[in-house]
């Protein structure tokens, strides 16, 4: 489809504009050095970096779950989202499902919290079918495997038909095979839906497979160390994972990540 190579597209509308955002916690810990970053429509931008480099904090700033100590974080600074609902959805590290509610109620939650959301049943059906969980709507989370719980979590994020999807190491706790499958499904989803995704991971391989652009962060305080455009067509499949190009990107990201880690610890 047309969105196959959005890597360097700079004429698309801005979705996220971070301008010199800084985060210092109450205990004095400086989580983020002033960071500037722009994410444009239909990008799949991934932030990688060592543990504790502030990638999660950055994502929380974008979601307004935290406020920057200085600088600004703005969504759709040029006006309303050109495509989609203009909503933001968040997928957390763990599935964070309501244990007492079945899959359907968990997925419907964002609609229930909204007053007068229309066509709840239809939207829940669609979200469940996007992640292939139609048959499990009556199950409780504890009856599902970790991978399926994460799918429920993704369905819950998709149910509001968001324009911007924020994902904080969503597959970090899964085994390699499940992770690879969910990565593939996510890549498909991004191709089919009018989504802009800002993704956080510590896996180089995941970043190289999924993204249109990878931002490498260094730690303490966190800042953007390097930026790599992954210039390969979507949809990507297992053939891409086996390609030399993919291996090249992985090697490049590995080098950058260790350089970033060195630059952090040298201080």
């Amino acid at each position: 489809m047309a969105a196959a190579r959005p890597g360097h597209v700079t004429d698309r509308p801005l979705v996220v504009e971070i301008d010199g955002a800084e985060k210092v916690f109450e205990n004095g810990l400086r989580a983020l050095a002033p960071i500037s970053l722009a994410v444009r429509e239909r990008e799949f931008a991934t932030i990688i970096g060592p543990s504790g480099c502030g990638k999660s904090t950055l994502l929380r700033l974008v979601a307004s779950l935290a406020t920057p100590t200085a600088g600004s974080v703005r969504l759709w600074p040029q006006g309303a989202a050109a495509r989609g609902s203009g909503r933001v959805a968040f997928v957390f590290q763990s599935p964070t499902l309501m244990a007492w509610a079945d899959v359907e109620a968990n997925v419907r939650l964002p609609l229930d919290l909204e007053d007068g959301a229309a066509d709840r049943a239809g939207r829940v059906d669609r979200a469940l079918s996007l992640v292939g969980l139609e048959e499990f709507r009556a199950a409780h989370p504890r009856q599902l495997s970790g991978g399926m719980q994460m799918r429920v979590s993704i369905a819950r994020a998709l149910v509001t038909e968001p324009s911007l999807l924020l994902m904080d190491e969503p597959f970090g706790a899964l085994d390699e095979i499940t992770r690879a499958r969910l990565d593939r499904e996510l890549a498909d989803l991004w191709t089919r839906e009018a989504l802009t995704i800002l993704f956080v991971t510590h896996s180089i391989y995941e970043a190289a497979f999924l993204s249109t652009r990878v931002l490498v962060m260094s730690s303490r305080p966190g800042r953007i160390f390097a930026e790599v455009a992954i210039d390969a067509p979507h949809p990507r499949d297992e053939a891409f994972r086996g390609s030399e190009r993919y291996a090249g990107y992985c090697a490049k990201l590995t080098d950058l990540l260790s350089a970033a880690a060195d630059s952090g610890s040298a201080k």
Binding site: A63, A89, F90, F92, A99, W100, L109, P110, L113
Partner: protein, 261 residues
Amino acid sequence: MSRATLRYGAPFLVGLVVLALWQALVTAYDVPSYLVPSPALIGRTLITDWPLLSRSLAFTLEITLLALAGAVALGVALAFVFVQSRVVEASLFPYAVLLQVTPIVAIAPLIIIWVADTRAALVLCATIVAIFPIISNSTLGLRSVDPGLLDLFRLHRASRWQTLLRLRIPSALPYFFAGLRVSAGLALIGAVVAEFVAGTGGTASGLAYQILLSGLQLNVPRLFAALFLIALAGIVLSTLTAWAAKLALRHWHESEVAADE
């Protein structure tokens, strides 16, 4: 041996053996019934004194259940207030602890003097005994919310009311039920202790009063019969609260699902 046989059969068998041994020893050594009555005599007393004992049982149960209801209503209400405001919690919680650690026997005479209606005084005493586990467990439960889910609710701009109803209350249920089970036992203890204190005034007619009176009259078989009924009431209460917990949590909480799978 199946699990059910082990769970119900084994304790039943132990009880049967103890009763048989008891009966045999009392008969063999010809122990007078004003010291240790035989199980058979206690059983007969239960039947012959049933009109009197059943009224006392009903009275004690009424006090216990009213106190438990009061403890749940007041305890949960206080927990909600505590969760809404750290200041209120910090100001009031020490007094809840104070009430908890002061023996009810020491407070009961005052309450019985102050509250004219004996029944109300007894309920109040038993409520004081039973309320603490409800307060502390409900408060803990309402606070024990997955921070990720709390973030999700914030992200979707959930109101305080929605967060309470859809997130905090369900999260608190397992804690609440654990507290309820303890409180049910405490309510019975509170009712019995309060009756003992009030009974010296000669106005109450619960099981504790029967025990007190039977002791004074050396009617030990009736004392044992009343004791048996109190123990039975305690077991029934504990079982009922366990069932309630199971009914509410069986679909999702580890404490209740593990047993049937």
